[in-house]
């Protein structure tokens, strides 16, 4: 199945979906050394974003969060791709400077995405590819 959204940051990323119903603040919310979500009470607290296709509504918190996304990439603990409901500047800029594929505005609710499903994000075309593509 191919779902068409909007391209925000280019590149192709594949991994297991990790879905957060809540916004994410990368500054102080995610440990840049481990990729583990550390914000107290966050739905993803204790889980790692490393290598996952991370889906969440939008970014929140400090604009310095963009550099934390870059730090995750430098440390090898970054998500394989990012899906937002609606992109905003913190996450969009972070994804671009880190080179992480990112899309938004998919024609479905985040709740319809299943944690653990293997998917591919095509950042250039804005597509989410679920299951085998061949």
């Amino acid at each position: 199945m191919i779902l068409k959204g909007r391209s925000i940051a280019k590149g192709s990323g594949r991994g297991e979906l990790l879905v957060s119903p809540a916004p994410i603040s990368f500054l102080s919310g995610v440990n840049p050394d481990t990729g583990i979500v550390v914000e107290k009470g966050h739905p993803l607290e204790g889980k790692t974003v490393a290598g996952r296709v991370l889906a969440f509504p939008y970014g929140k918190g400090s604009t310095v969060g963009s550099y934390i996304i870059y730090a995750l990439q430098q440390n090898g603990t970054a998500p394989a791709a990012i899906i937002n409901v609606e992109a905003e500047p913190i996450i969009a800029v972070g994804a671009i400077i880190a080179g992480i594929p990112m899309i938004d505005r998919l024609p479905l609710d985040l709740a319809d995405l299943q944690d653990g499903t293997e998917v591919t994000v095509e950042g250039d075309s804005g597509e989410l590819i679920c299951g085998d593509t061949e």
């Binding site: 940051a9 310095v64 430098q74 992109a87 500047p89 800029v93 400077i97």
Partner: protein
């Protein structure tokens, strides 16, 4: 979003990887804000100048970049005077070294190492020009007092605009979005409040929030407008304000204000802000002093000696062009400090209570310096510093 042929070539990487990434940032922001096109800018002011803000990963990213800015660009204030940091107590060599690395990274990109919230004193800025500025008071002054057009940019978006020479056309770049949304009146007019513009802005900003206010019945000059806007940008999120018959757009456009909500800044509320408090330091220059403000401080300090630390913050270029005023101020024992300010410098952290002449500093000092804040007129500040 429409891109012209050259923009497309930049996006395709024909002018190097850094420019390509910068264009990708502008295109993504254009999508986020539904901009129809990019618009050329006259200058940029880049935030994220302080190591304290961007940290080691921000510095790492800057250090990987390889391009030169396409338009004149300066920086936000940093945590210390660039060259004279040893003269300011409270700056450690480690902090200074990290800060110097950030500045070196920006210098490589062709950004002028002028670290100021008043770039309009350095870079001639004209009515109607599009800009990509980031410091909240500078954005407010450029939009309101000059009639230039800028959104409040983040660090990477201002840097991308500086390197590409363009910014996405949305928000305050579009004339229709610059109409006032709320009318503000000052209860007794400004006759009794000529020296209280920072306080008026502090009070108004809390009510106005992120709307565009239009003031009526007052006749502020440029430095008063600067104090008013800086305070509203701090206590609210004001990026543009109008003053009827004073600021340029009120003389160019006809604004319909009949149907708007009206707010009054009360005389008693203004006077209540000026409560007495024992302080152990006095700070002037938030935003950085204009040449006229430096002259006023020098005149107020004539034949006086400071009894408490008195710090006067200013753009380096303004200090350099007014050596007589700087000398006159420093003969009193006061210190004229370039590149940094009372809000962002760790040198201010060791004071228990700080007196300021600025509504913006009054809003930020408690949170940023962990000190109590007292607001006074400029003359009251000098009196306290020399009594």
């Amino acid at each position: 979003m429409y891109l012209d042929a050259e923009d497309e070539n930049v996006l395709a990487g024909e002018f190097g990887e850094t420019r390509q990434k910068m264009m990708e940032i502008l295109v993504a922001l254009g999508r986020v804000y539904d901009a129809e096109k990019l618009v050329p800018i006259a200058s940029a002011q880049v935030s994220g100048a302080s190591y304290k803000t961007i940290g080691k990963w921000g510095l790492h990213w800057l250090s990987t970049m390889n391009a030169r800015v396409a338009v004149p660009a300066v920086l936000n204030p940093i945590g210390m005077p660039r060259d004279e940091w040893r003269e300011l107590d409270g700056i450690t060599p480690e902090f200074a070294h990290q800060q110097e690395e950030v500045l070196a990274a920006y210098r490589r990109l062709g950004i002028k190492l002028e670290c100021t919230c008043t770039p309009y004193y350095l870079q001639r800025t004209e009515y109607g020009e599009h800009l990509a500025w980031s410091e909240s008071s500078a954005v407010c002054y450029a939009n309101s007092v000059i009639g230039a057009r800028t959104n409040r940019e983040g660090g990477p978006s201002a840097l991308a605009a500086a390197i590409v020479g363009k910014t996405p056309f949305y928000g305050l770049h579009i004339v229709e979005n610059r109409r006032p949304g709320v009318v503000v009146e000052v209860e007794a007019g400004d006759a009794p409040h000529a020296d209280h513009y920072g306080a008026i802005g502090y009070l108004a900003g809390r009510e106005v929030g992120n709307r565009i206010p239009i003031f009526t019945g007052i006749r502020p000059g440029r430095d008063q407008l600067k104090a008013l806007g800086a305070a509203m940008a701090a206590s609210g999120a004001v990026a543009l304000f109008h003053v009827d018959k004073i600021t340029p757009e009120t003389r160019v456009f006809h604004f319909e204000t009949e149907s708007l909500e009206r707010i009054t800044v009360g005389q008693q509320d203004i006077e209540d802000l000026f409560a007495a408090l024992d302080v152990d330091a006095v700070a002037i220059g938030c935003p950085h002093c204009s040449p006229d403000e430096l002259r006023e401080v020098a005149n107020l300090l004539r034949d006086k000696q400071t009894t408490k630390p008195l710090l006067v913050f200013v753009a380096r270029a303004v200090a350099r062009e007014n050596p007589d005023l700087v000398g006159a101020i420093e003969r009193s024992g006061a210190k004229v400090v370039p590149d940094t300010c009372m809000v962002v410098s760790p040198a201010m952290d060791r004071y228990r209570a700080i007196m300021v002449d600025s509504g913006k500093a009054f809003a930020y000092v408690p949170g940023m310096c962990g000190a109590l804040a007292r607001i006074g007129t400029r003359k009251e500040c000098i009196d306290v510093a020399t009594s």
